[in-house]
């Protein structure tokens, strides 16, 4: 299988939540994420019983999700993913809450919100995503459709 990089890049603009620049493969969910009790902080894996990403790790991925739900342990659960070296490379989300804001701050991964277009409509799991939170830019390279 040859991976043909699609040169058709898409750019989104958003508001900086946590400054910084990083890139990685996208992991997209249309469901909110629960922190404490919803992820395993030692592996960065989603464990919530009925979550569509149950069993999938976001370590090193650009995590694209609607927002946070559940326990106030959200920030600590994500803080620990950084401590264990399994935090996301970057975070892109739509719905601002104190849980996700504080969680993003202490995870210290570049993070954006308030986009000009909904990232969940544009980014798919496996796309390559570069996040420049300082400039408020997200650059998406679509995963090749070629087989």
């Amino acid at each position: 299988m040859i991976k043909n990089a699609d040169t058709n890049k898409i750019t989104l603009r958003g508001r900086c939540v946590v400054p910084g620049i990083s890139e990685g493969e996208a992991l997209v969910t249309h469901q909110q994420i629960s922190g404490w009790g919803g992820i395993d902080s030692r592996t960065g894996t989603i464990v919530e019983t009925r979550h569509e990403l149950r069993g999938v790790s976001f370590a090193g991925k650009v995590l694209v999700f609607p927002g946070a739900k559940g326990s106030s342990g959200w920030s600590n659960a994500f803080h620990l993913t950084r401590t264990f070296g399994v935090g996301p490379a970057a975070m892109l989300f739509n719905e601002m809450t104190t849980k996700v804001a504080l969680g993003a701050v202490v995870t210290r991964a570049p993070c954006l919100t308030d986009f000009d277009q909904n990232p969940m409509d544009i980014i798919e799991t496996g796309d390559w995503v570069r996040v420049d939170a300082n400039q408020g830019l997200v650059e998406i390279t679509k995963r090749s459709k070629a087989t």
Binding site: R15, T49, G73, W74, S75, H79, E95, A101, V105
Partner: protein, 427 residues
């Protein structure tokens, strides 16, 4: 963010490095939120405890409890010396009950480390209430009071039932708040964000604590983190019912504030609850929805042989313990089953005085304090199936401990404990 002169001085380090780190975190957090300023608070509910082997090792390797506080309560890689706190602070639940560590499978070394940690936190001025229900043990803010609370089930109670004002804070933001008496002025601190967004019409009877738990679980799933306004409630609920309602709404969704028309303080009428807004959506909760959310909640329950019954999520109130003592007096917990009840330490002391501890222990049950199975990951050895009267704990435990869970009424749970069989369900 706009800072006052005093806040600027804290940020400049005039009150020492810990306060400076706290203010630096509040700035990063406030900017992330898009907040324009901070607000003063003198009521904090926080977790600063270190009850896991990981925290014990982290402290050993990095410089003791100051290192744990610097990293996990202030998000500071630099270890700073932590001074006495400025804001009144009560502690949330812990990773185990230090008085019953052996029962919970916790070794002596971890208890010893916890005791050192407790001496550190009480030395800072933090109240060792150790509960998810501060409002059951004397931390009851007044209407309109600005707070910085952790614990989603306490936050929703604080906003909705007490009419005080808090967002769902996390370990790091409350660490900063207790040292600075500040928290970002955002979200539920502002009038306009407290108004209702979604209308919930209840068209079936909601009476028992379990009914309230189910309704909350269903609403959280529907509205996620929005502000539901509930109508159609007949009988005024007590503390335990609203506690279970809020706890489940904040578990299935992220609800931090709700209104019940005619009952909660900012909803004397539907008009007051919504202000000038129109409901974004209207949902109707009827008998069919009630049956279907119960099925959904019980989706992990397969085997009817129950090994463990857990009560006390959120921590049981004195009224619930009185009811339980009446339900179980003279009965015996089945030899193949265990019954654990979690309550705040001060409420357990009251149970000792009232004779409930003796009644429950004579039946073969155990009252524990300070924790719960979800926080501690502790359960009786060999547990495969648990029964509970908490929708919140039923939501979390199967994911955390990999066991089956049944949700039902307190009476269903007592029956399961005494027969070893699950026979619950809607009646």
């Amino acid at each position: 963010m706009q800072l006052t002169e005093e806040e600027k001085s804290m940020l400049d380090g005039d009150q020492g490095p810990a306060v400076q780190k706290a203010m630096d975190l509040l700035m990063r957090y406030g900017n992330a939120l898009g907040a324009e300023r901070l607000v003063e608070t003198n009521n904090v509910v926080a977790s600063v405890s270190a009850t896991t082997p990981f925290m014990r090792d982290f402290a050993k390797q990095n410089g003791g409890m100051d290192a744990v506080f610097s990293q996990f309560s202030l998000d500071s890689d630099e270890v700073v010396s932590i001074p006495k706190i400025k804001a009144f602070t009560t502690h949330t639940q812990l990773g185990f009950d230090p008085e019953q560590a052996a029962r919970m499978g916790v070794d002596e070394e971890t208890v010893h480390f916890y005791r050192k940690g407790e001496a550190f936190t009480t030395g800072l001025g933090i109240q060792a209430t150790n509960t998810c229900t501060p409002y059951q043990v004397g931390n009851i803010p007044t209407r309109g009071e600005h707070c910085a609370w952790m614990e989603s089930s306490a936050v929703i109670y604080c906003n909705s039932v007490l009419g005080a004002r808090t967002n769902t804070e996390g370990r790091e933001s409350v660490g900063a708040a207790m040292l600075t008496q500040r928290i970002p002025y955002w979200g539920y601190h502002l009038d306009e964000n407290r108004l209702g967004t979604h209308l919930i019409e209840v068209a079936t009877s909601i009476e028992s604590t379990a009914d309230w738990g189910l309704l909350g679980y269903w609403i959280g799933d529907k509205v996620q983190e929005k502000v539901p306004v509930v109508t159609g409630i007949g009988k005024t609920p007590n503390l335990a019912r609203l506690k279970h309602f809020g706890a489940s709404a904040s578990s299935s969704g992220g609800v931090e504030m709700y209104h019940i028309v005619g009952i909660t303080p900012e909803a004397m009428s539907q008009e007051q609850a919504f202000g000038k807004r129109k409901p974004q959506e209207i949902f109707r909760f009827d008998a069919k929805e009630k049956a279907s959310i119960l099925d959904r909640l019980n989706s992990t329950g397969k085997d009817t042989k129950v090994d463990y019954v857990m009560l006390g999520c959120p921590h049981y109130s004195m009224e619930q313990l009185w009811e339980l003592a009446q339900l179980i007096e003279g009965r015996k917990v089945h030899p193949d089953c265990e019954l654990w009840i979690f309550t705040p330490r001060s409420t357990k002391t009251l149970c000792d005085q009232n004779g409930y501890t003796r009644i429950i222990e004579e039946a073969g049950g155990h009252i524990l304090s300070d924790s719960c199975s979800a926080m501690s990951r502790a359960m009786p050895k060999g547990t495969r199936v648990v029964a509970m009267d908490s929708a919140k704990q039923t939501h979390y435990l199967p994911a955390i401990l990999g066991i089956q869970a049944w949700f039902g009424s307190t009476a269903d749970c007592v029956e399961a404990a005494c027969t070893g069989q699950w026979q619950g369900g809607l009646r």
